[in-house]
């Protein structure tokens, strides 16, 4: 099975993000890291590839930088990466991202696409669904477990009170939850990652011209949290607590 995995390089979440003054986009450092969410995607892809003697190709749209994030995914065991790096794509919205990634996958060929449920830095949570529409394949979302069948895939779809079992013929697209424990890269994996093929494409290579950008008009800081109300317990405090919760419409 030829598996395409979406992986996003993001600024290290451990350091606070900064926005540029002009466009209010996240300032992306040279050494972006692999989004944690996508580690689960890579893990699922590797398991399926091991079960089906398949291959795993990473797809990412971002400034290449040092490729640190891509190398992390290659070190886990992915076979190759296709990177779309084009200044014209700066500030691309989710739909443009979906069009670009889908075009690259169509060009290279695939049986199954795997993406995260939502990214850690953008977290719109809509890019994969748009991509499945463009690729014209079924979308199985919120997978907490994935099994490959004969010409089909079956997932356990996480719901608020349990899970659904969903099956679809391949080609298909799956979004995975962070509940799937990713493997650590091995030391040999780290050594081999350096020599694995990384192809870099521009939007022109994919025949995409009319890219749409998001425009962020203004950014306001989050309102500072006001001091909470301290309820002294005179034996009847629970009444006041219920009142507060009702006002907040949580009960």
């Amino acid at each position: 099975m030829n598996i395409a995995v979406c992986v996003k390089q993001i600024p290290d979440p451990a350091t606070p993000y900064e926005l540029d003054d002009e466009n209010h986009w996240i300032i992306r450092p040279e050494d972006q890291v692999l989004d944690d969410t996508d580690r689960s995607g890579v893990e699922v892809a590797l398991q399926l590839a091991e079960a089906t003697e398949g291959t795993v190709t990473l797809y990412s749209m971002s400034p290449s930088g040092t490729l640190q994030g891509i190398r992390q995914a290659l070190a886990m065991g992915a076979d190759a990466a296709v990177l779309i790096d084009d200044p014209a794509l700066k500030g691309a919205d989710a739909l443009t991202t979906a069009r670009v990634l889908a075009a690259a996958m169509q060009q290279e060929g695939f049986d199954l696409v795997i993406a995260g449920t939502e990214s850690t830095d953008g977290y719109s949570g809509i890019m994969p669904q748009m991509m499945s529409e463009i690729l014209d394949v079924p979308c199985l979302s919120f997978a907490r477990k994935v099994d490959a069948g004969d010409g089909s895939v079956t997932i356990e779809r996480q719901t608020s009170d349990g899970f659904d079992v969903v099956e679809a013929p391949i080609p298909a697209l799956i979004t995975v939850t962070a509940g799937i424990e990713p493997r650590y890269p091995t030391f040999k994996g780290i050594m081999q990652a350096k020599s694995k093929p990384v192809t870099t494409l521009t939007s022109a290579d994919l025949g995409i011209t009319n890219t749409v950008h998001q425009v962020i008009r203004s950014v306001e800081p989050v309102a500072a949290r006001t001091a909470g109300e301290i309820i002294e317990d005179d034996g009847e405090a629970y009444l006041r607590i219920i009142e507060v919760l009702e006002q907040a419409k949580v009960v």
Binding site: T66, R71, Q72, T186, K188, I190
Partner: protein, 380 residues
């Protein structure tokens, strides 16, 4: 001149740090309390390839540079010295003597499992009556037909009695003025592993006394040439000293991070304790010691990689880094006040663990002896 770690070094550091923080750090206190050697976690370290970093690809290793091994040891020591010494001794004392000096037969028989971390080996040099003075080795091996017959005892041997220990390489007298290294497989009749010691630190690391009574092993278990044992372990120890230095760097890094964080958050007399020079300057000194130790250790590792002589640099690095680590753990414990004396505080375990850094693989006094001799002084 270039002081930068390359991409591979950085990726390895990130991998080991994440593994150490998620698999080791949360459990290390309990392992220490229970004197528990966590075989499953050591196996996982094997699966990550940590025991095979420097070993040849023929035996399943990655054939990478020694700096990588130092980085892995440093990162483990930053959260737990017991697991760091398990790796350090596993490679420097367990794998390397066979890897560097062993016959093809010994390598084929033992290295694949050791390199994969499925098995561990120990190196038995120290004896009840011979530590710093290794020339006083009293264990004897006598050739009887095509077997060595070994009699004697070893003391304080790391990784020698775990569930996955496959062998110990020991030094033994094979003639007058002749010391040789011989492989003794675990479970050989006449080879007794004594109960584990109760230790002040490194409690999750495995340490035993060993006794040999008419213990017979094949003549082909001789490591390298007969009578070359002394030179072999001296060269083994030179590498080991840099690696112990790397452990000390991890300990220093831990003390620095822990102390700075605590000094910012802990308040006394209305202000964070880090606002008092007495505390801030301890942190500043730790920064200096960490940086100095790191430079000495990685310079020695680099020299070894270049193939140049590095005996003096290895001794300097081990001596400075281990003494600095002991100072830093004492000072970090002080920064933490009463909390620093409690078992649940990481620096308290680092304090107990750090002491042996200036004892194992050559005491601080022996390092000073080596360094003085390197200076051409006629010390005895």
């Amino acid at each position: 001149m270039d002081f930068a770690f390359n991409d591979e070094h950085q990726a390895l550091r990130a991998m080991v740090r994440e593994f150490a923080e998620s698999r080791i750090a949360p459990n290390a206190e309990a392992w220490d309390r229970d004197h528990h050697f966590p075989v499953d976690v050591v196996r996982e370290m094997g699966e990550l390839g940590l025991f095979g970093i420097t070993a040849d690809e023929r035996w399943g290793g990655a054939g990478a540079d020694f700096t990588n091994l130092c980085i892995a040891i440093e990162e483990l020591a930053r959260v737990d010295q017991s697991m760091a010494i398990t790796l350090e001794a596993g490679v420097s004392l367990g794998i390397n003597p066979i890897h560097e000096f062993g016959s093809e037969e010994l390598k084929e028989r033992w290295l694949p499992d050791l390199v994969a971390g499925r098995a561990l080996a120990g190196f038995g040099l120290t004896e009840p009556g011979a530590g710093s003075d290794a020339a006083a080795t009293a264990t004897r091996a006598v050739l009887d037909g095509d077997e060595w017959v070994i009699n004697g005892a070893k003391a304080f041997i790391t990784n020698s009695g775990t569930d996955i220990t496959s062998l110990v390489t020991i030094t033994a007298r094979t003639g007058p003025d002749e010391i040789s290294c011989i492989v003794v497989p675990a479970g050989t009749p006449g080879f007794t592993v004594e109960p584990a010691y109760r230790k002040m630190g490194w409690r999750a690391s495995d340490t035993h006394g060993l006794v040999f009574e008419d213990c017979r092993v094949p003549a082909t278990n001789l490591v390298g040439e007969r009578g070359r044992g002394f030179q072999q372990f001296l060269s083994t120890l030179d590498d080991g000293r840099i690696a112990i230095g790397a452990m000390a760097v991890g300990v220093l890094q831990c003390c620095l991070e822990q102390s700075v964080a605590y000094a910012k958050e802990r308040e006394s007399m209305g202000k964070p304790i880090g606002s008092y020079q007495a505390v801030a300057f301890k942190c500043a000194d730790m920064e200096v010691m960490t940086e100095a130790a790191r430079l000495l250790v990685y310079k020695a590792a680099w020299l070894k990689e270049q193939g140049g002589p590095f005996k003096q640099e290895a001794a300097v690095a081990k001596l400075y880094a281990s003494e600095a680590a002991i100072t830093a753990t004492r000072e970090a414990t002080q920064v933490f006040g009463g909390a620093g004396f409690m078992d649940e505080t990481l620096v308290s375990r680092q304090y107990r663990d750090a002491k042996v850094l200036e004892i194992g693989e050559g005491t601080s006094e022996v390092q000073r002896l080596v360094i003085s001799r390197g200076l051409g002084l006629p010390v005895s």
